[in-house]
């Protein structure tokens, strides 16, 4: 119980700290009206963000890998990461339209089927391994690993809504489109936009753009959001729309079959053999008495 509370506290603290590092342009005006930020600190801020986000990621990984000392889970994760990295490798060699990428489909389904911890590691290490083999290692990697980890980790929350819905459908004996796949597809669609929006925060405060789109010191919270939305609409919306629609279509087309295969293997992978211990005193008593 104590271990679970610790786990939860570390996950929350590292996730919130990581979010704070990325979202500082929005809350800074609330905290301070001091001038001198923004492009003035453009030299040090990216390095500082990389450092802090990297440290939050390190803590999350250490906590998530805690119970990984199980050969089945290690092998499962290694092979799934390899398959997903192969998909990214193929995508790098033969680029798809816009921001289309096939990797999030598997990250979401693995997170949903195997749980948040495996989902987080799947997302983070898909980015890491594919960056190693495609030469994509750079200061942006901690941010990519963090965000892709969130994609996998948060997929488990869908169960809170889907399971009661599935139960109700079963009771009413209704047939039609699988709500599970539909919910996962919508989730993939949303993350298609969110992933791009989060990764944009990496450079947005340091870009000198037109008035009304760039980050400026002294703007209020609402105005900062408005500027960011304008910047996002102009620079990223089309790219991310293709990514989001790609996620939606991939989950609708392959989701049911993939989920079925993952669940079949989950029964084989996620079990632990614990030999039933005989009460020693009784056995010894029988030996001595017999």
């Amino acid at each position: 119980m104590k271990s679970r509370i610790f786990s939860l506290a570390i996950y929350l603290a590292a996730t919130l700290s990581g979010m704070m590092v990325l979202l500082y342009p929005f809350f800074l005006p609330v905290l301070s009206n001091r001038a001198g930020y923004g492009t003035f600190r453009a030299g040090e801020m990216p390095a500082m963000m990389t450092l802090l986000l990297g440290l939050c990621l390190v803590v999350l990984i250490i906590e998530a890998q805690g119970k990984l000392m199980n050969t089945k889970l290690i092998a499962l994760l290694g092979v799934l990461v390899a398959i997903n990295s192969a998909l990214r490798f193929i995508e790098t060699a033969i680029p798809g339209p816009g921001g289309f990428t096939p990797i999030f489909f598997l990250i979401i389904l693995v997170g949903y089927a195997f749980g948040g911890r495996i989902g987080f590691l799947m997302g983070a290490f898909t980015m890491f391994v594919s960056a190693l083999v495609t030469g994509g290692v750079g200061p942006w990697l901690p941010g990519q690993m963090f965000t892709a980890g969130w994609v996998g980790m948060s997929a488990i929350f869908l169960k809170l809504f889907i399971e009661p819905l599935m139960l109700r459908m079963k009771q009413k004996n209704t047939t039609g489109i699988n709500p599970e796949i539909l919910a996962l597809a919508i989730y993939g669609l949303l993350w298609g936009f969110l992933y791009g929006a989060i990764m944009n925060l990496w450079q947005w405060p340091f870009i000198m753009g037109v008035q009304g789109q760039s980050w400026q010191v002294g703007l209020g919270f609402t105005e900062t959001i408005r500027h960011y939305l304008a910047y996002y609409l102009v620079t990223s919306l089309i790219w991310d729309t293709i990514a989001a629609i790609g996620n939606l279509l991939l989950i609708l087309a392959f989701g049911a079959a993939t989920l079925k295969a993952l669940r079949r293997f989950k029964k084989r992978f996620v079990f632990n053999y614990i030999p039933e211990a005989e009460p020693i005193s009784k056995t010894m008593h029988e030996e001595f008495s017999g």
């Binding site: 610790f6 506290a9 500082y24 905290l31 939050c56 092998a75 092979v79 295969a261 293997f265």
Partner: protein, 361 residues
């Protein structure tokens, strides 16, 4: 030069230089150094080759950042032309200053990307995985499995594609990918099962030191470390910059202690440890000197030329020969690699003995 940490030191020096200067003259020198080192590794580099051309990618980045900034940022006094109308983002003056600023951003991005590419060209993936610190032992194993299994996966994908094509399978719609994806996934998962059984049979994670329960103390350090990072970040941005740095440093120390404690629980055996050769030590010394010149307060050394802003009116960037010369120190690993590639050193001593018909052990 085979010591991974010497290469990491070189990479750190490159990244620090790229992040502290916006002077295009210095950026060009840094880029030249990176490309020369990368070029020297083309023949002898033991790392992976990239699936795309760096030159094309670099040109694309440079063109994109220059054009994007020129079209979206309408600051500057040297107006090249004006985009008429009320087009959102685009309408307004296109200035030379905005183009130079965008190109500078592009040079920094290219430098970062190219330096990491040089590292992955210089070191084989197993050396990169060996750099993963001891506390991350389980995820290092996961990474190792994934990197090893990746070529097999690509080969398997090709085989499945060919097998399906022989059966007359045609790729018309998105759903036609399913007969390719499912055998790949199921085959991979079966392989994972076999791998897990093999690992268990060899006693992986069977000892108490590895599979034993987790200690609480390291996690306490990690938790408080992360909390300190968050507090320090807010302090740094809003209240007091110096105090913020101190709190962040305290958080980093706590996390380091936590990681060290975690690392003590796992034991790792290295069969082939990379040794430090004189070339590695010299590279490390040169990179440390470069970092000292650019970061430490040295009396009489003027670093103002590192900063360059093309706005509001474009001016020629200043240049300090001492700083330019110091940057050339980044060529050190390239020099060692090229001297190793010398025709006289094509074969190792053992290989020379075998070629001479004297395979003495």
């Amino acid at each position: 030069m085979k010591q991974p940490w010497a290469w990491v030191a070189w990479l750190v020096a490159v990244l620090v230089l790229l992040s502290i200067t916006r002077n295009p003259l210095y950026l060009v020198i840094i880029l030249l150094c990176i490309f020369i080192v990368g070029f020297s590794l083309r023949e002898s580099g033991s790392g992976l080759l990239r699936p795309f051309s760096l030159w094309k990618f670099a040109l694309w980045i440079l063109a994109f950042t220059t054009v994007f900034n020129a079209l979206t940022s309408h600051y500057g006094q040297t107006v090249l032309f004006t985009i008429p109308g009320n087009l959102p983002l685009l309408s307004g003056d296109v200035t030379l200053e905005a183009m130079v600023y965008g190109a500078t951003n592009g040079l920094i991005l290219i430098g970062m990307l190219a330096s990491f590419m040089v590292l992955s060209l210089a070191l084989p993936v197993r050396d990169l995985i060996n750099l993963i610190p001891r506390p991350f032992f389980p995820v290092a194993v996961v990474t190792s499995i994934a990197v090893t299994y990746l070529p097999t996966t690509l080969r398997q994908f090709q085989q499945i594609r060919e097998a399906q094509a022989i059966r007359g399978h045609q790729m018309r719609t998105l759903r036609d990918w399913l007969p390719l994806l499912m055998p790949l996934l199921v085959g991979g998962l079966e392989h994972a099962m076999q791998l897990a059984e093999a690992m268990t049979a060899r006693g992986f994670a069977s000892t108490n030191s590895v599979a034993g329960g987790r200690q609480v103390l390291p996690r306490v350090f990690l938790l408080f470390g992360v909390v300190m990072l968050a507090i320090g970040w807010i302090y740094n941005l809003s209240v007091n910059q110096t105090m913020g740095w101190i709190i962040i440093a305290a958080g980093v120390v706590l996390i380091t202690i936590g990681l060290w404690q975690e690392g003590k629980q796992s034991h790792r055996t290295t069969y082939h440890r990379r040794t430090w050769g004189w070339q590695d030590i010299l590279t490390l010394i040169v990179t440390l000197c470069i970092l000292a010149i650019f970061l430490l307060p040295i009396p009489g050394l003027n670093r103002s030329s590192l900063y360059y802003d093309p706005y509001p009116k474009l001016s020629s960037p200043s240049f300090s020969p001492i700083l330019g010369l110091a940057m050339l120190g980044l060529l050190t690993p390239g020099y060692f690699v090229l001297s190793r590639n010398h025709p006289g050193d094509k074969y190792s001593n053992a290989e020379k003995r075998i070629l001479n018909g004297n395979p003495r052990l």
